[in-house]
Symmetry: C2
Subunit: 450 residues, 2 copies
């Protein structure tokens, strides 16, 4: 199942030579939209557009929504406007809004004219919320229930509305002003006798979120409290819409990708790897590399400063990459563990001293062990009397320094409202390179006849 898109991609490749739209529809009838999207991402744009156009509007719309924004945009401009209008018409409104948001500005007006006024109004309302907010993720298309209704009333309403609402797991209870009063799982409702009133079985202790809450925070709420859906309410408690868990899953994946990229000093972004061109790939990476390069020239200054020591004792240079490298590695480990813990809300700034203590102790333990190995390695190279000891002590000190800095900086950054992943592995290596050299040369200075 895992690589279903590979089968679809092969099918798609064959289908690029097929002109019969019905044959294309039939061939792709069983494929999941997400797999078709993956296959289209790998096809030539004109083939992708033609395949998409051959699909039923509902499926084509779902595929477009699964595509990365830049790909969706470039495909959409290749399709006739009335096709896009048909897609918008059949999609869930939050998906339709997301799709419209990806299209060129000038295409939006005419498209909103072409779809039913009620849908257009809902899309406009959703697009009025900030990007990446709860408002953008929510749907307005769910059943609202009155508290004085009985189970029978409610079930009758649902039967009458057949096919109107999307996936319904919870029933939301509102008053005449649209204010949220409570929630009742559909499962609970069907378990009750027909004459029981909704107010008797609803849960009034509802967790909600405001429409401008950042989608990352919304995702955290879902992940932490295992919700299946979350009602969005305005400041007056009026129910604006609901966010469904399945819409949040994509956000979770995107946010994780962002976090992972940041830890490797790659500029954050949510486009999949293959959707990025060479230029975008370079742009994502160059900024941080340049900053780190400039910071890294500090190592040159340090080495120039200790030029006479290097001159006198060539053996010193031999251990520079090894000591720096190990320090950077140890620091990256600490920084990554702490950054992840902050992202999961497990650590807060108040834990700083506790964390520093733990990392100091861990660094001491690991550093001593590595220092001992370093001693043996240096001793077998027979370079200079005393150098093995310098290597051992420097390695221990550098590892302690690296783990402590690596753990402390993310907590400090978080406290200052910056991104804790600021202390990426590359940034940490660069910092430890320059400072570690100073530690190394100072210890050498102290113990060797320089």
């Amino acid at each position: 199942v895992r690589f279903a898109w590979e089968t679809v991609a092969e099918k798609l490749h064959r289908l690029t030579r097929v002109r019969d739209r019905r044959a294309i529809r039939r061939e792709l009838a069983d494929a999941e939209p997400v797999d078709i999207a993956e296959a289209i991402l790998r096809a030539k744009p004109e083939d992708g557009a033609r395949i998409l156009h051959a699909l039923e509007p509902a499926r084509a719309g779902e595929v477009l929504v699964e595509l990365p924004p830049s790909t969706a945009r470039s495909l959409a401009v290749k399709l006739p406007p009335d096709a896009i209008a048909r897609y918008l018409d059949v999609l869930e409104m939050d998906d339709a809004a997301a799709l419209l948001d990806e299209l060129p500005e000038e295409a939006r007006g005419p498209l909103l004219q072409a779809i039913p006024e009620q849908d257009a109004a809902e899309i406009r309302r959703l697009l009025a919320y900030p990007r990446e907010s709860a408002g953008r993720l929510m749907t307005e298309n769910f059943p609202r229930v009155q508290m004085h209704w009985t189970v029978d009333d409610t079930l009758r309403m649902l039967r009458d509305a057949k096919g109107k609402y999307g996936a319904t797991v919870y029933l939301y209870v509102v008053d005449d002003g649209g204010r949220l009063l409570g929630v009742c799982p559909l499962r609970r409702l069907v378990e009750e006798e027909p004459d029981v009133r909704v107010e008797a079985i609803m849960n009034t202790d509802v967790v909600t979120c405001p429409p401008d809450m950042d989608q990352e925070d919304v995702a955290m709420l879902f992940m932490r409290y295992d919700f299946l859906s979350l009602p969005v309410v305005d400041v007056d408690g009026r129910l604006l819409g609901i966010v469904m868990l399945d819409d949040v899953l994509d956000v979770v994946e995107e946010e994780e990708t962002e976090d992972i990229y940041r830890l490797a000093a790659v500029q954050s972004g949510r486009e999949p790897y293959l959707a990025l061109g060479i230029w975008s790939l370079a742009k994502r990476r160059f900024g941080w590399l340049l900053i780190l390069f400039i910071a890294g020239t500090l190592t040159g200054h340090v080495l120039l400063h200790y030029q006479s020591e290097l001159d006198q004792l060539l053996g010193l240079a031999v251990f520079i990459p090894l000591l720096m490298g190990t320090g950077g590695n140890a620091g990256a480990q600490a920084a990554t563990m702490v950054t992840r813990a902050i992202a999961l809300d497990e650590l807060v700034f108040r834990d700083l001293w506790r964390v520093l203590g733990r990392e100091f102790a861990t660094g001491l333990l690991v550093g001593l062990l590595l220092g001992a190995v370093g001693y043996l390695r240096a001793a077998t190279w027979h370079l200079t009397i005393g150098l093995p000891l310098v290597v051992m002590l420097s390695q221990t000190a550098i590892v302690i320094w690296a783990t402590t800095i690596g753990a402390g900086v993310p907590l400090l950054a978080h406290r200052l409202g910056w991104d804790p992943a600021l202390m990426s592995s590359p940034a940490l290596s660069t910092l430890v390179d320059a400072t570690g050299l100073v530690i190394y040369f100072e210890i050498a200075h102290l113990l060797l006849p320089l």
Copy 2:
């Protein structure tokens, strides 16, 4: 809302001096189990055990399930066995099995004796599946429906079973032999007229998974296809249980943590940062550090090999950390992006040449830019005629080499059935350090009078 556990932690701290169990219950009545767990993780073990014991069994059990395994185990042994038995009795069976699995071997038998035989049998069945498999995540406690039943029959069955089943979103249709025939959302069912038969509305095209599927693959299925629950069937198509999305969310988070740790060369594990002692922290990190340290001694060999060049031209040493550092950073970026794409199933081995081409081009672009900056920096230090050119060319070559290797090795590792995150940022830095030195010295040898 985000730091709800902080409020709970403060409450808990006050409650450690309270002896009245009912007061403790009342104070924590509104707190979510996951927040109580977070607060207990930060409390002294004896305080944690006492608070836990004061809670209602159902809540205490839910809190225990949310705790990291090692903490749950150390708390559980402080509680009277009959308390644990009561928790097991009220938990969902998959959670009860997970809790029991965390307890010391010798405690399990008596506990299984103390709970109702039917529950004990289900727990034994679940525990017979391998750890981290779909079988361990599933519940057997959901309604099964016959295809010839009408909507009315089904709703009556659900009313009669009131309170018996957990969260129900889909109804699974089975034959007399227990084989899965189809699925129908509860929402679809209630929209139909009472006399419609289930077989007329059920969907027979059901995605399933085997009980021994790895939980990471199960999570991928949920994330990719946006399921709310997934039926687990044996080789004969018999429905064994269902996995609910909310049970998978914790797995998603744990697996992400594993991936992120691996990218920083931290041994994988799912315990949160604060649940690990110094010794465990060191153990998680030392293994990789040692391997990388030993691999890193290669840099020493390289430097010894080029000792005469270093001797003749001291300026060469000045740029070593800078060139190595930048190469490692650029490589880590490429490795991280490709590893993440593999984890999301966006890249397969067949993409190797395409990826290498992209990374070569990106490395060339970024390397040339950084090389130019390196040229300027080297030129202003007035060390040796020709050295700026050597730095520029080496920097370009090292970045291209690093991005290509960084992107290629994860794909190769994945192909060989190894973990693509093998090429962690630290591993890549270490590899680039040694090979990059060779590139640097060979270019210097070619262009400078050495």
